[in-house]
Each structure stands twice: as structure tokens, then as C-alpha cells.
Symmetry: C2
């Protein structure tokens, strides 16, 4: 688990051209020139988006003579989605990357009964009822 890794994956997914490409690759692996035809985009545009997705770990590439064959790593995608949902359900304490947040979060919880954020205190009791 790494925030940066999730960010890289979601950045890769958060672009319409790339989502369309990924959907096509989900049908079957394809060559760049095929994607070019089906998506009607310029070749450099396709290659650049494929590079982003490769770096995010979402596709594999394989050279075949002059061609390059790209395939969606659907298992990786499934796995990462599952992992992220677990991330959202995990305790703060179990996440090494959130030690600072966890510390400050606890301080907030300890200062109950005073409804002032400015002095670092807040009515945490009331908040818990609402949540």
C-alpha cells in the first residue's frame, strides 16, 4: 500500500481518452495502430497515454517486430480496487503512512467538551453521536 501508488493509478484512470483505451483493451489486447483506428486518435497521443498507463501498472507491452502489443492487466486493476476499499475501511492506527494524522487525530478526540477548533478543541462527543 502506498498513497503515491494509488494516486498514480487514479490519475491514469481519471482521463477520458485513457478510460476509453482501457475499455478497448479489456475486449482484447491490441496493437497501437489498431487503437489508432478504432479510437481515431493520433498515434503519438495514443502512445503517450499508453506510457502513462504502463507506469501506473495498468497495461503490459510486448514488442512484436515493429508493432507493440498492449494488454490490460485486469487482475492488477481488480486487486488494487479491492486494496483501496480495504484502505478506506482500515483503522488509522494500522496505516504506517498516517502516524502523524493519527497522533493529531487522537489529540483532537481527547479534547472533548470544548467547541473551539481555534484552540485545538472540539465537541468530539457531539460529533460521535452524529456520525
Amino acid at each position: 500500500m502506498s498513497i503515491d501508488n494509488y494516486v498514480k493509478i487514479f490519475k491514469a484512470l481519471g482521463e477520458p481518452s485513457r478510460l476509453r483505451m482501457l475499455k478497448l483493451l479489456s475486449v482484447r489486447p491490441m496493437y497501437v495502430c489498431e487503437l489508432e483506428k478504432v479510437l481515431q486518435m493520433s498515434q503519438p497521443r495514443i502512445s503517450q497515454h499508453l506510457r502513462v498507463m504502463k507506469h501506473a501498472g495498468l497495461v503490459t507491452e510486448r514488442k512484436e517486430a515493429q508493432r507493440t502489443f498492449y494488454a490490460l492487466k485486469i487482475d492488477y486493476l481488480d486487486e488494487q480496487f479491492k486494496e483501496l476499499l480495504e484502505f478506506f475501511h482500515a483503522d488509522l492506527e494500522s496505516l504506517p503512512l498516517f502516524t502523524g494524522e493519527n497522533q493529531r487525530f487522537k489529540e483532537l478526540e481527547e479534547d472533548c467538551g470544548v467547541a473551539q477548533c481555534k484552540e485545538g478543541k472540539i465537541d468530539a462527543v457531539k460529533i460521535k453521536q452524529e456520525a
Copy 2:
């Protein structure tokens, strides 16, 4: 299902500050001033990221006197993730937004036996074996 909707969600998730905020909101709903303290970010920065996430449908806001109370819509997140995995497993034909791609994809498949992308033909038989 809408590509643009997915894109909006993934754009919102594809930023480290926002991912951290969402994780905190997964612990419990929080006020802006609390997020400010725990994340140690400036207030406008927090508000702006919250706005992005609200527009993506990932959080709800509720006014409470001067404060605003933000909550993660975990059910929506779960639902959208599930939907996207279904999107990747769906037939091209069942996706209304991909009629153009589907058409051109079929043309590609029909031109079997000729390994030339330039003339719109490709060795689709070979490709199917590999995939």
C-alpha cells in the same frame, strides 16, 4: 454509467491531499477546522479539495452554525467501484457510449488475414490466439 462521471471520480481520487482527506473522513465525519488541524493544511486548500470531492459525489456537506460538517459517502464509492469493474467486463455492444468504437472494432475484426494496419487490415486471427 457515464465516462465523464467515472473521470470525475478518478480525478478526485487521483490527488494525494484528497486521498488523505478521504481516509480521515472514513474514520468519522469531520469539520473543516478539524481536517485543517489533523492534516496541517491551509483552510482554503482544504475547502477547495472538499469542493472537488463534493462535485464528484464522494462527500456530503452539512452546515452547522458557522461550521460545515463533511462526510465520506462510502456507499457511493463502493457502488462506483463495483460499477467500473462491471464496465471493464461488459461487452462493447452493451455500452451505448462505445457505438463508434464498436463499429470500427468490428471492421477491424472482419479484415482478417492481412497484417497491415495502414490499409485498415490486421491479422486478427493471430491476435485472437495470443489473447
